[in-house]
Symmetry: C2
Subunit: 416 residues, 2 copies
């Protein structure tokens, strides 16, 4: 490999903080029995797994369904049946008013976000750098390294609303947002938010939507955990779409992460751009997730699975883990972000005498793996001490693992 790295190598193949964290987690996991609260894998829901098995059985034993799914490249835009099903599903349930030209399928939503952020943000032909604004960090760690250029991501601190009883909620800081002078290419939020479990309110989304419209830029909503599938979302919200919204979705968290199926609903211009990038860089996306689920979109099984199996599973796990925290963190200065969705609980230790990164290392030695919070605060203009006081915990693993992990975290912090 060239010693003088290319831009691409430097940005995506070099050492990165997150990459090192992932390597470190991987090595820790490989070195013996660990309590893993750090990953992003969805939980195992036996009833849902059975549905995938049944559907695959149907495909394998039909006259030629599986042959056709396995043996043909789809177009770069995606599988025709699946796109039709997505269109009619969202028009039927949510009045999106979309056509086939508003949908593209990607090899997972990470890939969709990589393409989107590099299309919408960055230096244009006019030499002006348009930034991607994350109006509320902490935000998904996986965005942090996604851009080809330095210094394209800009983010804002939230307002912290203390809800009492060791709970709090992040709110969009609208005044600060309105002060933004930079040239922007897009706004981006995950909703529900990884890592916090926050769900931006309808009113906040309306505000961001109006803001982005005024600026003439799209609002990207990463809906990987949201409604109507997988519905790891514990409060009622309105799902809206118009030409100014880019809605990114995924089949990962409903239980099909390895099929790498990302779905983007956006205006025609953006869909055409994403399809073209897909053609050049990937030829086509994988077909299996699309093939498994398109009839389940048509007959609403997917929405029912989400509502009746997936959501209750996570809601129960979240509640249980919150109870464990309130038990084992007693006597510690801690606040948990309200759990409104996603796989994670986000815990803030305002009086932590060390950084969350140091806490990560100490916990790792005690065989408990968590994600230190500092990685989720990319794009801020100045240091914020809050960013070193939080940790992310995946609550969807085995109950035994989560319970023992929380117990050790509590004991460790008390002993600091």
């Amino acid at each position: 490999m060239p010693k003088n790295r290319t831009l691409f190598t430097k940005r995506f193949a070099g050492k990165s903080g997150i990459g090192e964290l992932m390597d470190d987690l991987g090595q820790a996991m490989a070195s013996g029995d660990k309590l893993m609260l750090g990953g992003g894998n969805p939980g195992y829901i036996p009833e849902v797994a059975t549905l995938w098995r049944d559907r695959l059985n149907e495909m394998v034993n039909s006259s030629n369904e599986i042959d056709s799914v396995l043996g043909n490249y789809d177009t770069p835009q995606g599988n025709e049946n699946f796109i039709n099903s997505i269109v009619s599903f969202f028009n039927r349930h949510f009045n999106f008013g979309i056509t086939r030209e508003n949908v593209v399928i990607t090899n997972g939503s990470q890939c969709a976000m990589f393409n989107l952020l590099n299309i919408l943000g960055g230096t244009g032909e006019d030499g002006i750098k348009r930034k991607v604004l994350f109006p509320l960090v902490p935000e998904y760690i996986g965005y942090a390294d996604l851009h080809l250029e330095d210094d394209v991501f800009l983010s804002l601190k939230p307002i912290i609303e203390d809800l009492g009883f060791n709970r709090y909620k992040y709110r969009i800081d609208r005044d600060n947002l309105n002060k933004i002078k930079e040239n922007l290419g897009a706004l981006c939020v995950s909703r529900p938010t990884n890592p916090t479990g926050n769900v931006l309110t309808d009113d906040e989304i309306d505000f961001l939507h109006l803001f982005s419209k005024k600026r003439g830029i799209p609002l990207i909503i990463d809906n990987a955990y949201g409604a109507p599938f997988p519905q790891i979302l514990f409060k009622d919200i309105t799902l809206k779409w118009d030409e100014n919204i880019v809605l990114s979705m995924s089949l990962s968290k409903i239980g099909l992460p390895s099929t790498r199926t990302g779905i983007v609903v956006a205006n025609r211009e953006i869909i055409l751009a994403l399809s073209r990038v897909n053609a050049i860089t990937s030829l086509a996306s994988g077909s299996l997730g699309q093939g498994i689920t398109y009839p389940m979109l048509d007959d609403d099984r997917l929405i029912n699975i989400s509502k009746n199996l997936v959501k209750p599973f996570y809601q129960k796990r979240s509640n249980l883990t919150l109870e464990l925290m309130d038990k084992y963190f007693q006597g510690i200065d801690y606040k948990v972000h309200v759990s409104e969705g996603a796989l994670f609980l986000w815990v803030w230790f305002p009086s932590l005498p060390i950084t969350s990164k140091e806490l990560y290392t100490i916990l790792k030695e005690k065989n408990v793996l968590i994600i230190p919070g500092n990685y989720f605060f990319f794009g801020l203009k100045e240091y914020w001490d809050h960013s070193d006081q939080c940790i992310r915990i995946n609550y969807s693993g085995e109950e035994r693992v989560v319970k023992e992990g929380i117990r050790i975290i509590g004991k460790t912090i008390k002993g600091l």
Copy 2:
């Protein structure tokens, strides 16, 4: 979308000659009954499809195999079982002497090539642009648009060896290659070659290998059609690997294109770089192709399928299509590149009174879809009239379609 496009948009989401060709082909296909000789889809081999169905049945009906394949993200490097199987397979059959650290799995080999070419070629931190050299064009159309930067690809014309009886073969022009003064980042060849069906000889590969070693750059061999799977390769060659070779492979042409499974064997540094890019841009690759095939690598079913089913299928089709050409092209000045592998026959019409692009348009009006040859000559420093005299024909479709298509092509050219 920003009117002033970013570099990424301009390179990958804008209009491109190939993109327009693909759109045009897609629209033509959608507009009624067409004889499709233009695509890159592998043929349908019923016996092979049955093997995939049987294996999927086994996975679905085992206690938890399919649950685990569908429900878990693999690491960015790939699935552990599959990587182990690849390592022991290539060590057992070909004495590669590789370890797990020499293998990475990607979402298809197109994606692997995108990452590889942008890692190895382009402007380095020292400001020097290192080019990717294609030592023999015509070469795979899908490489042409893969780089972030302009003017990174450099290519050389071949020596044309007339074999008589309307057959010819391209040879590496070694003298010209030795004259290359440019800074290089990598050499790249597909073997068997898409679009020509050429297979570089062992001696040519040894020459390129030595050349790249002397230059201190890797030799990328895109083995998507080659040995030992899918073995769409009609002559005996030696499959070699060492630290200086990047071997790219795929499960697409053995019949699993929609699983998007690319396999790269390379030195540790390159594998680490590719894994990191995968982590950032895709999180992980799809698991299904890996899950289906790893036991078939272990018990050599995959190599036997390739040898006993896949290779004979294509060999027979190729021979049949060559016979059809010799029949229907009688009286035309034509030469077909010797068919040594891949899905394509490459026909040169030295006295064609129009360009192959114009021929494409005329044939499209007669419902026959082929790929005009000019797109495969990217990277040349100057115009070569040969590039407007060739067409690519996919011979792996239904016999009826291929026969009727060849007949119409012959008749059309005679009528020019």
